[in-house]
């Protein structure tokens, strides 16, 4: 039981991170119908920016941790959002209205470019980071087995819940959210109502990148080490989460993220840690074969 609860906590933590990244995939797919393969690398950049910010704060002798974390979060979110915006602007927007595969190829190119760009600037070696938030509480203990939840895990899960609630509100109730959904359903009609479609699409990338930056910060704190390649695996897993939830569905992305996190945690715990990445990939293959529209996805026919 303790072991099970422990995996549940680990899985929810991982799932939070995947879910935040998955939202970016699903939103972009919803609005322009493409898989943004560079999104995982945007998340990687978010992780690097938070490490760099932390190191810079350290060098100038800034050691008040709570404030340092907030500064890391803000800087990483703002700069990563700027990267997201730029990628859309230079790699996707010029291809709008061209053949369907063009932006996909451009996205793969962008992904490779971003990885090499970070490798060149930051070096190929791992970037370690000392633990910033330590400690935790023992939830259960029996026969030497414990279920332990670190403060960091609490921060990750709570912050994710807050962000997802805020984000759901944005999409459901604000005029930006409505404009976004309108562009998803009929871009031309949206423009006939005075919606600046290009700007709305840009904002979609900005929001997706900002959420990925938060995930990047979380992963940095959680694992304490990052490299320029982390975007690839996390990207595929988050993409799997988006597909599992139903690509285009935002609630689906959140749900899919949590499920992938749980599957990965339980798989590692009860089968094999070495092949933990296999779990997500198997899910991807199975979903694509048996339910390509995902759990909450809408069948294509409904697209008017």
């Amino acid at each position: 039981m303790e072991y099970f609860v422990q995996q549940l906590i680990n899985g929810l933590t991982l799932g939070s991170i995947y879910g935040l990244i998955a939202i970016g995939y699903t939103m972009v797919y919803g609005i322009i119908g493409m898989i943004n393969f560079a999104h995982g690398d945007i998340y990687m950049i978010g992780a690097f920016l938070s490490v760099i910010t932390f190191l810079v704060l350290g060098t100038i002798g800034f050691t008040f941790i709570p404030l340092a974390l907030i500064i890391m979060l803000l800087i990483s979110v703002v700069l990563t959002a700027a990267y997201g915006w730029t990628v859309e602007r230079i790699a996707y927007r010029p291809l709008r209205g061209s053949f369907r595969l063009a932006p996909l190829i451009s996205a793969i190119g962008m992904s490779i470019f971003l990885q090499n760009y970070v490798q060149l600037l930051q070096g190929a070696r791992n970037k370690p980071l000392q633990p910033i938030i330590s400690g935790g509480v023992v939830l259960m203990e029996k026969d030497g087995l414990t279920a332990y939840m670190s403060y960091l895990q609490m921060v990750i899960i709570v912050l994710t819940i807050v962000l997802m609630a805020a984000f759901s509100y944005l999409i459901a109730k604000t005029s930006l959210g409505r404009a976004q959904r309108a562009c998803e359903q009929d871009r031309k009609m949206a423009s006939l109502l005075g919606v600046n479609v290009d700007r709305t699409i840009s904002l979609t990338f900005v929001i997706g990148a900002a959420l990925a930056a938060v995930a990047g910060l979380m992963v940095t704190l959680y694992y304490g080490v990052i490299d320029f390649f982390i975007g690839f695996l996390a990207g595929i897993k988050a993409f799997t989460a988006a597909v599992l939830g139903g690509i285009g569905s935002i609630t689906g992305a959140m749900l899919g993220g949590v499920l992938i996190g749980l599957i990965e945690a339980f798989w590692s715990a009860y089968f094999s840690v070495e092949y933990k990445d296999l779990a997500a990939f198997s899910v991807l293959v199975l979903v694509l074969i048996f339910r390509p529209t995902g759990l909450l996805g809408k069948p294509e026919i409904e697209k008017v």
Binding site: S175, R181, S191, L193, G194, N196, E302
Partner: protein, 236 residues
């Protein structure tokens, strides 16, 4: 209000509008009639800049809007209820109406909503229903209501009577007259239903193959032999 001179519009190499000149005077209802494929919808969409005219000039209240992007044009007191209605299918009726008001000041939203509900009481009942599940007539009412939510001075309507039962058609035409007379909205109406449209309109144009071939008051066109044989024969 609106003035078009020498408008040419292309789809690829196909020339859909071949030099259109046309005026819409403020406060009027002006109608454009013509056979299928004449270019009527293209003309309305060209006014909205989508597709943009390749040659010619479009003035809206004296301002040249020919080269502006669509969303900029639509923020200048112009609204369009386009062909096919284009209701957002996965948004509620209320959200569709909110989309109509997306560029306007939120402070008069409630008053505008009341006005639209007064014109089309059924929309109030259907408020939280998804747009895609409305009947054809309800969708048309929603399309007009959504266009009105932006407080337009000029309203473009593309075949609002298409596919509707006679009773609903009458209701829609009554509303168009009311919008024009009471809310002082200028209306530019494209119709297949030439008889009703010409009776309603102050002025009419006839389009054939991307060109205006005739124009006159509604009464004149109704009496015109060419118009009668091409668009009014077979009863109404």
């Amino acid at each position: 209000m609106l003035s078009l001179t020498g408008i040419h519009t292309f789809y690829g190499h196909v020339e859909a509008l071949r030099g259109v000149d046309l005026q819409v005077e403020p406060g009027r209802i002006v109608t454009l009639i013509g056979a299928n494929g004449a270019g009527k919808s293209t003309l309305l969409m060209t006014i909205c800049g989508s597709p943009a005219a390749r040659r010619g000039r479009i003035l809206l209240e004296g301002e040249d809007i020919t080269r502006l992007p669509t969303f900029e044009i639509m923020r200048r007191g112009l609204a369009h209820a386009p062909e096919g209605r284009r209701i957002f299918p996965r948004m509620s009726v209320l959200e569709n109406l909110q989309m109509g008001a997306i560029t306007t000041d939120a402070s008069h939203f409630n008053a505008d909503l009341e006005r639209v509900f007064a014109l089309f009481p059924i929309l109030q009942k259907r408020q939280s229903q998804r747009g895609g599940t409305l009947s054809g007539g309800e969708q048309q009412m929603l399309a007009i209501g959504r266009a009105l939510m932006s407080r337009p001075r000029l309203l473009l309507l593309d075949e609002p009577s298409l596919g509707l039962a006679p009773l609903v058609v009458k209701q829609i035409f009554d509303v168009i007259r009311e919008i024009n007379e009471q809310q002082k909205v200028t209306v530019f109406l494209v119709e297949q239903n030439a008889y009703h449209a010409l009776r309603l309109a102050h002025h009419g144009y006839v389009m054939v193959n991307g060109k205006i071939t005739l124009s006159g008051t509604g009464r004149e066109l109704l009496a015109n032999a060419e118009v009668r044989s091409a668009y009014l024969e077979g009863g109404h």
